[in-house]
Amino acid sequence: MSDIVLKLSGIVKSFPGVLANDHVNFTLKKGEVHALLGENGAGKTTLMNITFGIYRQDEGEIYINGERAEITSPHRAMEYGIGMIQQHFSLVPSFSVAENIALGLKGSKISPKVDLVRKKVKDLAERFGLNVNPDSRIWQLSAGEQQRVEILKLLYMNAQIMILDEPTAILTPQEATNLFKTIKEMVKYGASVIFISHKLKEVLEVSDRITVMRHGKVIDTLKKDEVSERILAKKMVGRDVVLKILKKPSAPKKVELEVKDLWSRGDKGIYAVRGVSLEVKSGEILGIAGVAGNGQRELAESIYGLRKYTGEVKIEGETMRPLSVVSRMKSGVAYIPQDRKEVALCGGLPIYYNLFLKKPFRVPEFYLNPYLFNSSRLKRPSEQLVNEYLISTSSLNLEVKYLSGGNMQKVVLARELSLNPKLIIAVHPTRGLDVGAIEFVYKILLKARDNGTAILLVAGDLEEIFTLSDRVAVLYEGEIIGYSKPDESHLEEIGLMMAGVRKVKK
């Protein structure tokens, strides 16, 4: 057995309401690149934050070079030779590259020896192909270059264990290729690298071993030559059968939503949706399957008018203006976003406000005076909704932030469905909910479908797609790579498409 530089054993970490790491075991060998693969929220970053001393584990031990280590802070972690590049860089924008590297050094006195650092940085940059001018100021550099500075920082500190958290998310394909070269170069010099990602392709390209995480647990650790993208996709998404709900065959009618050649950029400025065209008819559920981060969120936000796009979005044949949520609301579009707490709810306001966040002024039958507002008139309809959607709360005045995740989602559902929408965009509508709440959400969505609502469902969980949708489209790198039928016999096909293999056209 080759020597193990890092061993995590039985790591448990819970946050209020979430078990982020559930008895996780993980090993890193000297000189290997070990990928940590999983969906967003699978617990990868939490695990690495524990390793780097940002969080403390609730249970479990960390061993470095066979010895038990107490990592209480990032500072301690660095003393153990662990370095981490986080998704958000920790650089001082107005300092030069060399100054930034000197800043993090141990034992630097009042005036760090920037000159000395400069020279060594130049050497390192040359050796590892990290092309950066040590005198440039950070704010002048592109994201890719800033990342190189972060890597140089680790190299300078002579980190033996390097953790890279989704390093390619901000890179262009060329920059990513360069990064992989650098990683291979670093490994040659004896460093070990943990590479966090949810992209299958790059994981296979760069790593020696791959650990797949799901719902806070390690599913499997595999050698690179044992696996293919398809196997990884399956392991990552999983098929934990939660519950089975029978649904009637759909009766699709007229086209409710039509999207034509939609292009939209992600938060980091790179195109996340690349020319998507799709149609959803009333009375059907179109499921969008795919590994997270392939443009699902951007697609949904564009259709709802929260994100800029080019291309066309038509609702009931009417072309919508980009970035106009109001026009969507008027056309009867409801939206269940993936981050309900961040986007769909006002945590500090009472339930009955949240139930009518949209309704009072924008929906005709509720039209109060357009300028005046009478909160007491919301109470009675709120009471009805609370009863109808079985929201368990002590009072209508309770602030929403004190509700459980399931009840929060019920508030969102109650609000969105009480608008009698013609189209529902639901993104990960059951994420983080327990089985009972999931079943409730499924039933509600199916009932809406049976009443003739068109539903665009984005989900990471294939089981959810199978349970709910009438058609399945697979999104891969911002494109719809193919359609399939939502049943078990097409699992293989869907898995292949999720991994980027196009369906052969007959």
Binding site: L349, K358, F361, L372, F373
Partner: protein, 355 residues
Amino acid sequence: MRLKIEKRNESASTLSVLSMSVLSVVVSLVILGFIILSLGKNPIDAYIQLVSWPFGTIAGLTQSLISMTPLLFTSLGLVLAFKMKLWNIGAEGQFYMGAFGATWGALFLFNHISNPWIMLPLIALLGAGVGAGWGTLAGVMKARLGVNEILSTLMLNYVAIYWVNYLVYGPWRDPASYNFPITAEFPKAAILPQYTANGINLGMFLAIAASFFVYYLLKWTRFGFEIDISGDNPKAAEYAGINVKKMIVIVMAVSGALSGLGGMMQMSGVLFRLQPNFSPGYGYTAIIIVLLARLNPFVTVVVAFLFGGLIVGTQQIQLFLQIPFSLVNAFQGLLLFSFVAGEALLHYKLRWLKA
């Protein structure tokens, strides 16, 4: 043993909020007492003086009410902005700009108007308008460019104060003032109705009326509802179809308008002429007032009255006990600190953990 800070998982009750506010006042008074002691004075004496004159005599009470007026206008402006979590620190500057606008109207633009019923609304509009403009400036910078409103409003205060200084030392100085840096006195038509010889004027009643206006705006209009949503979660506001950027600009404008109106009332009701440093920091005191009043417009009236008394009382003990007036600033600082600390304790609790 290790101290751990934990989030409380229910909202604070009205009682604990109230007792926290009272406690933070008491704590500040105790600390202030030690400061007074270190000046060689008896803090008990000082506190008796501090309270007895402004609240115990008719003359003192009148003065307290007069100094309540500018405090109340600026505070109400801040209530609106703070509701939306826009940290407008610029009430002071908006107040100055309002006074500038009123003076401009009274002495230069409309000086031929002799009917007060035309003159007063005109200069009130002008004062409020210039104050609104000053607030809008910070609002637009925030909405368009993401400039932090704390910094922009704070810096605009200095611009406003120096602008007024420039005018009264320069072009607007009254030739008949024996070289004092003051403008000419307002014409009769530009002076608010006075009800007592010692200065109770219409401004005070308008300030109280303004608190009803702000309450109505926040509680009973769509605008108030949208302020609630945008303040609590701007992302959810966008999601609900509210144009948050527009809200930022409008709220800053209304907030500035109220402070500006305060500046106009101070000119037309109390001072009658523009002069340098005519505000002992009303706009800053307003920040503490609204925090203590927890952004409730009616409680704000009460707290503003108490602070008006505090200013009057401190002037009193300065006279009789030779304690410096800057003590009032020290007290406000202490109060802010203990209030912020108390606020943290309402949301978090401390627990000792055995290591």
